[in-house]
């Protein structure tokens, strides 16, 4: 590691002296102070019982010199009794969480180190970072990118997926060819691509798999594969205002976890397509989008021995609408990699400037079950002084499947909501949210209110409460409130948030995980330079 830092230091210094490079970076720091609250289930873990606090942060620095085609970066990660990666299990370590160096030589770019990359839509391969969920799936290896011409690019890479400060043992290699074909008359564009990935298991992981398979009944045993091959073919066709995207991905058979802990030998596939139409000729703008995805045993991990969000090499986000309001986002359809048929239709219509209607319908099923259904409508009105959002949502949610809670009925919710943002002056504004969720299952019905006051560009204050006013899981009608203050100074932002947060599925960028309840104070800082 010292040698790596030495090389990067050399690159930074030499190019800073002789080149025209730029140096930039940022710091993101979060500290959590835990206050036990047995009523909401925020207790009984080392954080609440003994540790009382935890922190995690990332200090990122980049150097870029276009003159010499050089780019380099180092990121220092720190986790002190962190609750980030596996909520409830403290994790402490610090060190270089990412380093990379990249050099462009004419049409060729070579990158070594920790690499974030995506092939196509990421169905076959995506190495990425999603800090709120503790995901850092960088590839530790080498990537070569070659621009064949201005429209066609080839990328090949190889290495191992990052696992905190080390790597998962299996090896990955792959490549993609992606292009763009413009046809002038009629105005058509094509954006085709082909992607390929090969993952090879290591002996230790295979030993675990073999041990497991040899313990099964004879009929369930199979010879597992070291190598998994996956690939996809995709294309985006655009004809005037219509864009049609289609992708078919296929993987060879390998040992995958069937969701009950049993290994099965299955191949997999994904069909994904979307059709969108967007025009300004209808009213002040009209858009219609439909998406369909059929998933069959698409489990893409470094090995079947990894669980939760560990060791993913693909990106299979929820296909349904990603809601941001507190109660409308309470029940979300986590992508079912073992099998799902998911589709959604979204329409947006702006009859005249300042008035927008939005409607969305989505549904997720698997072979035998309805998993999720959402009907969502909202109306937004923008005026000089205020912005008003009104809407409603109906959801059917299969809690048994999504949260692995046996014998739970389908959760059915009706959630009307309103949001008003009012500007008192150029600097001062206020935002109010009101949401109500009617639910006869799970925790019961909720009311949520938020009032936020902003003094631009420095101060932000917010008070909110999520009230379980018709509780089904607790004796009392509990309040999950939050008191928030944010302060911005130039390019730095500091936040303090006293939070009571209910347990549930938390999603970021369509990727979700279960998080236990939280009670305590969260302090945050983000600074860029």
């Amino acid at each position: 590691m010292r040698k790596i830092l030495g090389v990067l230091f050399f690159v930074f210094c030499v190019n800073s002296l002789f080149g025209q490079g730029s140096f930039s970076g940022d710091l993101q720091l979060n500290t959590e102070f835990y206050q036990s609250d047995s009523l909401i289930g925020a207790n009984g873990t080392p954080h609440y019982d003994d540790l009382l606090s935890g922190a995690y942060g990332w200090l990122t620095t980049f150097y870029r010199n276009d003159q010499y085609g050089i780019e380099a970066g180092v990121r220092f990660d720190i986790f002190n009794n962190s609750n980030l990666h596996e909520p409830g299990i403290p994790y402490t370590d610090a060190g270089i969480g990412r380093w990379y160096i990249s050099k462009k030589i004419d049409a060729l770019r070579i990158t070594g180190g920790h690499i974030y990359e995506q092939f196509g839509t990421g169905i076959v391969y995506r190495s990425y970072e999603e800090r709120p969920l503790g995901i850092d799936n960088a590839l530790y290896g080498l990537e070569i990118e070659y621009a064949i011409n201005e429209n066609w690019t080839v990328k090949v890479l190889g290495g191992q997926m990052k696992d905190l400060f080390s790597q998962f043992d299996p090896v990955l290699k792959g490549g993609t060819i992606e292009g763009f074909i413009p046809i002038k008359k009629p105005k058509i564009t094509l954006a085709p691509g082909v992607t390929f990935i090969n993952r090879t298991l290591d002996k230790d992981n295979m030993d675990i798999i073999v041990g497991q398979i040899n313990s099964y009944d004879l009929v369930d045993r199979f010879v597992p594969k070291y190598n998994m091959f996956a690939g996809s073919v995709f294309n985006a066709l655009t004809i005037k205002d219509v864009t049609w995207y289609a992708e078919y991905a296929k993987k060879t058979h390998e040992a995958i976890n069937d969701g009950t802990g049993q290994l099965v030998d299955e191949d997999g596939s994904v069909i994904y397509t979307s059709l969108s139409y967007s025009t300004t000729k209808i009213g002040n703008g009209f858009g219609l989008t439909g998406q369909l995805r059929i998933v069959d045993n698409w489990v893409m991990r470094t090995s079947p021995n990894e669980t939760l969000l560990q060791g993913f090499i693909d990106y299979l986000p929820s296909l349904t609408k990603q809601n941001s309001l507190r109660l409308t986002a309470r029940y979300q359809a986590v992508a079912q990699s073992l099998g799902e048929l998911a589709y959604q239709v979204n329409a947006t219509f702006t009859p005249k400037k300042g008035y927008t209607f939005n409607a969305n319908y989505s549904k997720v099923t698997n072979d035998s079950l309805d998993l999720f259904q959402e009907i969502f409508v909202d109306f937004e009105m923008r005026k000089t002084k205020y912005k008003l959002l009104l809407g409603g949502q109906l959801i059917n949610y299969n809690q048994e499947v999504f949260e692995n809670e046996p014998d739970r009925p389908i959760v059915k919710t009706i959630t009307p909501f309103a949001e008003l943002t009012y500007k008192f002056s150029r600097k001062k504004s206020m935002r109010v949210e009101l949401q109500y969720q009617n639910c006869k299952q799970d925790f019961g019905s909720w009311v949520y209110g938020l009032i936020e006051f902003n003094i631009a560009p420095k101060w932000s204050f917010a008070l909110s409460d999520m009230w379980n006013y018709e509780p089904l899981r607790t004796e009392e009608a509990l309040h999950y409130y939050s008191v928030f203050t944010g302060y911005t100074h130039k390019s730095s932002r500091f936040t303090l948030n006293y939070v009571k947060q209910i347990a549930g599925i938390v999603c970021t960028g369509g990727v979700c995980r279960y998080e236990p309840a939280f009670s305590g104070l969260k302090a945050g800082m983000v600074a860029t330079f």
Binding site: I177, K203, I208, V210, L218
Partner: protein, 290 residues
């Protein structure tokens, strides 16, 4: 008519497609060994017995073409002599250059599989004492020089499982029946397997021996692994292995004509069966012909 020069821009997709074809065409792999044989057993609970003293199993990865391997044979013979009835040995011939001569038949598929399972090792001889990681370095194998000390450590232990073995051999049909009883004297949480191995000693065959300055034509090969009656990595002891748990197994095998039953042993051992813990808990052996 002049031909259009072939540009390297055209070459790239062809190379990429060619590489892809090559990678996909190399898809076939042998894969790891999986036990597809049905194992039957009888199991019940009885009052736990008094634990037996530990009998140590030493496995010697060796080879007739391996010049240093006689050092391993000597180290194993020494500890057997020093701890009578407390040490059992198996010589597993899996040196890459073996067999030394094509007529030698000491390399078995099980020996090769065991190298993949316990190693793979990069140097021979490699000696495993109860498949225990004495150096806590992740490697189970030891050098011949370390065998005595490691064996001395192991023989002082008592076993959490008692083992009994009985052999019946029909001289005419050359059918061997091995009966094994596994009796837990204390509860074991980790998954366990039972392995049963046939060995043959006093095989006279050539050996490259650095100590003798080259090839020895009439070298005496002892404890040579001939056959595992269970799967090479053992058959599962799948019940809850509490104190008092008893398993009864019976295996039948017809010995090939060129194996000398008078020089053969049946060895049974119970071992942990996890990727990072393969330690042998107890071993026992019995001559095939008493």
């Amino acid at each position: 008519m002049s031909m259009k020069p072939f540009s390297n821009k055209n070459l790239m997709p062809i190379l990429a497609a060619g590489s892809l074809f090559f990678i996909i065409s190399a898809c076939e792999e042998v894969g790891p060994a999986i036990n597809f044989t049905e194992t039957t057993y009888t199991t019940y609970i009885e009052t736990p017995e008094t634990p037996q003293d530990k009998v140590v199993l030493i496995e010697d990865f060796t080879g007739a073409a391996c010049p240093n391997c006689p050092d391993g044979h000597i180290a194993v013979a020494d500890v057997i002599a020093n701890y009578p009835n407390k040490i059992i040995a198996i010589a597993e011939y899996n040196f890459p250059s073996d067999p030394l001569y094509i007529e030698q038949n000491m390399v078995t598929s099980e020996s090769l599989d065991l190298n993949g399972y316990l190693g793979p090792v990069s140097a021979w001889p490699a000696i495993f004492i109860d498949r225990k990681d004495f150096g806590a370095d992740g490697d189970l194998e030891e050098l011949p020089a370390n065998v005595a000390a490691s064996a001395a450590e192991q023989v002082t232990l008592t076993a959490p499982v008692n083992l009994y073995i009985e052999n019946t051999f029909d001289n005419v049909s050359r059918t061997l029946t091995v009966s094994v009883k596994v009796k837990y004297t204390s509860t074991v949480i980790l998954p366990n397997n039972l392995s049963i191995v046939l060995t043959e000693s006093n095989i006279i065959a050539a050996q490259i021996d650095d100590n003798a300055g080259g090839e020895v034509e009439d070298y005496v090969h002892n404890h040579v692994l001939r056959k595992t009656l269970t799967f090479f990595s053992g058959d599962a002891l799948p019940e809850e292995n509490v104190a008092g748990r008893v398993y009864e197994f019976e295996y039948t095998y017809a010995l090939p004509a060129n194996w000398n039953a008078d020089n053969m042993y049946a060895i049974a051992f119970v071992h942990n069966f996890e990727a990072d813990n393969k330690e042998i808990l107890q071993s026992t052996e019995r001559e095939i012909v008493d």
